[in-house]
């Protein structure tokens, strides 16, 4: 683990340049992502936040190697990304544990694919499970666990192969609020230990501030980078920080940015349906005031 921590400092640079994604063809073309450039420095925790449908998951899919962009490119440590690989750990929004494998075998999966022998796999898996506080569930099947447990295993499974970066696509989206808050603390602790680059997709403002060093705010479709915000809060982060004035100020700032975009995303439907009847003033920028 020591060698990995040292090497992680200079590896894991994600670089997305002038990326554009167009879905469909001819008349049905939808521009999902337009001129997006962003980067994650080695060891940095970066969030990508935006209204639903803004293409943030699309960007993550490209960095993960599941799909290719229409224009531009994504690079990892100056090598173009073409296909999925174990140098990028991915944590999905849906629970993606293999239901036919026990918790321990799930964590070992990546190592098994890499040809690591059974003894070493077992040691790594157990130490990771211990880290996640789930060692006593090593021989359970995923269907026996709660959502929060499954997602913790999803994270350590992605970390097992010592990837240079961790890509997380709204990993806590399916969890209830209480579990979510706890999971954020666990994640920030885990990240503190591994110090690898993280690209984190979310639409939860507090979550992105609590976890990140830097936040990219995206516009509504077609998704572009609207703002880049540094989070100057000290590390390690604790739950108490979420009530400090600095934190609140960041929340307000981001809320303003996101709200504009959410309204812009809803503008066509608001206009055509005339939501004025619901006590909303529909102006040129969408809904103006709520009584």
């Amino acid at each position: 683990m020591n060698t990995q921590q040292i090497s992680a400092v200079d590896k894991g640079l994600i670089d997305v340049r002038d990326m554009g994604v167009v879905f469909g063809a001819n008349d049905n073309e939808v521009v999902a992502v337009q001129d997006v450039s962003l980067n994650v420095q080695p060891g940095e925790f970066v969030s990508l936040i935006g209204p639903s449908g803004c293409g943030k998951s699309t960007i993550l899919s490209i960095v993960a190697g599941f799909m290719a962009p229409t224009t531009g490119e994504a690079r990892l440590d100056d090598k173009p990304i073409t296909k999925p690989g174990s140098d990028r750990g991915v944590v999905f929004q849906q629970y993606s544990l293999f239901p036919w494998l026990t918790v321990r075998k799930n964590v070992e999966f990546g190592l098994k694919m890499a040809g690591v022998d059974a003894g070493k796999r077992d040691v790594t898996a157990r130490s990771l499970l211990d880290l996640a506080g789930l060692l006593s569930f090593a021989d359970h099947y995923p269907d026996q666990l709660s959502g929060g447990m499954k997602q913790r295993i999803g994270i350590i499974r992605a970390l097992a192969t010592s990837p240079q970066v961790l890509l997380m696509d709204e990993p806590f989206g399916a969890l209830d609020t209480q579990t979510r808050v706890v999971m954020q603390e666990i994640l920030t602790n885990i990240w503190q230990q591994f110090r690898i680059s993280v690209l984190f997709i979310t639409h939860d403002i507090e979550e992105s501030i609590f976890l990140s060093d830097r936040i990219y705010v995206m516009t509504a479709r077609p998704g572009r980078i609207k703002a880049e915000i540094k989070v100057p809060l000290p590390r390690p982060r604790t739950a108490e920080m979420t009530t400090t004035p600095e934190f609140m100020a960041l929340v307000q700032k981001l809320k303003g940015l996101i709200r504009e975009e959410s309204l812009a995303a809803m503008e066509p439907e608001l206009k055509s349906r005339g939501l004025a009847g619901f006590g909303m003033n529909v102006g040129p920028k969408g809904v103006g005031e709520i009584f």
């Binding site: 993960a64 190697g65 599941f66 296909k83 999925p84 690989g85 174990s86 990028r88 750990g89 991915v90 999905f92 849906q94 993606s96 293999f98 239901p99 036919w100 494998l101 999966f109 990546g110 098994k112 694919m113 890499a114 099947y141 995923p142 269907d143 026996q144 499974r157 992605a158 192969t161």
Partner: protein, 325 residues
């Protein structure tokens, strides 16, 4: 129904603190109006939780055995009713559109069983049938499962194979008998081929369906954990479609027996189907029924083995959502 004891115990433990609470309410009520409302939310909570926790362990064993006893009783009732109908029908020689006039009685069949059990001939027939089933079924698995996985995974492979499959599939295995006799050099391989045909299509199509109904996120997860194409098949797609494959095996086994018996009746030498048909030609009615029962029991054993393999190979299904209905 079988939980009654447990429920009563639970109810008692739930009611008791409630009674206490009732008592406190009445005493406090005289002093102030606000107080009981606060106490009401606090008091009933801790006591029942402990009680229920302790209760959970004990009746589990009772419940399982009781549950199993009921299952066994119903199974006996189900088979017993068949025998009763048969017994009464043959005893009173019932005739109401269907005629029991020539149907042998259970006792006659039993005597026949004892008689053929004494010689090797009957056992040889059984061994032949079982061997043909195992061979045909094994080939159907060996061809059907890998082909199904590849067809399910790659659209172009599906485009190539599925039109031929869709034409061949509706042809019942029995219709293959004449062609099979022409195709294969000897009787034995022809019968195994027909058994194979019967089992093949259900196995193939269920495997394809298994791949299609797999959650795509699992395949993506496998990919980013470093699984190449071959390992992805072996470690993700195969286990992921295993529940559907086993459905295919269960259906395929049933069709394989149907096909085998038909093939043995038409073209066979040896085999339970041949035994049954021969008995009909020789006007040995008890042997017909014995043959039928043997086929039924062998089919039951075979599907039982498949189900057992399924439970052993897929232990996780016991915890899958919806499995505890």
């Amino acid at each position: 129904m079988f939980n009654r004891e447990r429920m009563q115990k639970a109810r008692i433990s739930l009611v008791d603190p409630q009674a206490e609470y009732q008592a406190t309410v009445t005493t406090v009520e005289t002093e102030s109006v606000k107080a009981p409302a606060v106490q009401a939310t606090v008091i009933p909570q801790p006591a029942p939780e402990v009680e229920i926790g302790a209760l959970k362990m004990k009746p589990l064993l009772e419940r399982i055995t009781r549950d199993q006893v009921i299952t066994a009783l119903l199974a006996c009732l189900s088979i017993g009713a068949l025998f009763l109908f048969w017994y009464l029908g043959t005893k009173y020689r019932l005739e109401f559109y269907i005629r029991f006039k020539n149907v042998p009685t259970p006792y006659e069949v039993f005597r026949q069983a004892v008689e053929v059990g004494a010689s090797n001939k009957f056992l040889v027939n059984v061994v032949y049938s079982v061997r043909r089933i195992l061979l045909g079924f094994a080939i159907a698995i060996a061809v059907g499962v890998p082909l199904g996985l590849v067809i399910g995974k790659y659209r172009r492979v599906s485009d190539l194979f599925m039109p031929a499959v869709e034409i061949l599939r509706p042809i019942p295995a029995i219709a293959w008998v004449p062609m099979s006799i022409m195709l294969w050099p000897n009787n034995e391989s022809a019968i195994v081929f027909i058994t194979f045909i019967g089992a093949f299509f259900p196995i193939l199509l269920n495997t394809v369906h298994g791949v299609h109904s797999m959650d795509g996120v699992l395949i993506r997860a496998g990919r980013c954990l470093g699984a190449g194409e071959v390992r992805l098949f072996w470690n993700v797609i195969l286990p992921g479609s295993l529940p559907h494959i086993f459905t295919g095996l269960a259906v395929g086994m049933g069709v394989a027996w149907v096909s085998l018996i038909a093939a043995e009746m038409i073209s066979g030498q040896f085999g339970v189907g041949y035994f049954t048909w021969e008995a009909y030609s020789l006007v040995n009615y008890p042997a017909i029924v014995l043959g039928m029962i043997t086929i039924g029991v062998l089919g039951l054993v075979c599907s039982g083995i498949i189900r057992l393999c399924g439970i052993l190979m897929m232990p996780w299904l016991a915890y899958a959502p919806g499995s505890k209905k």
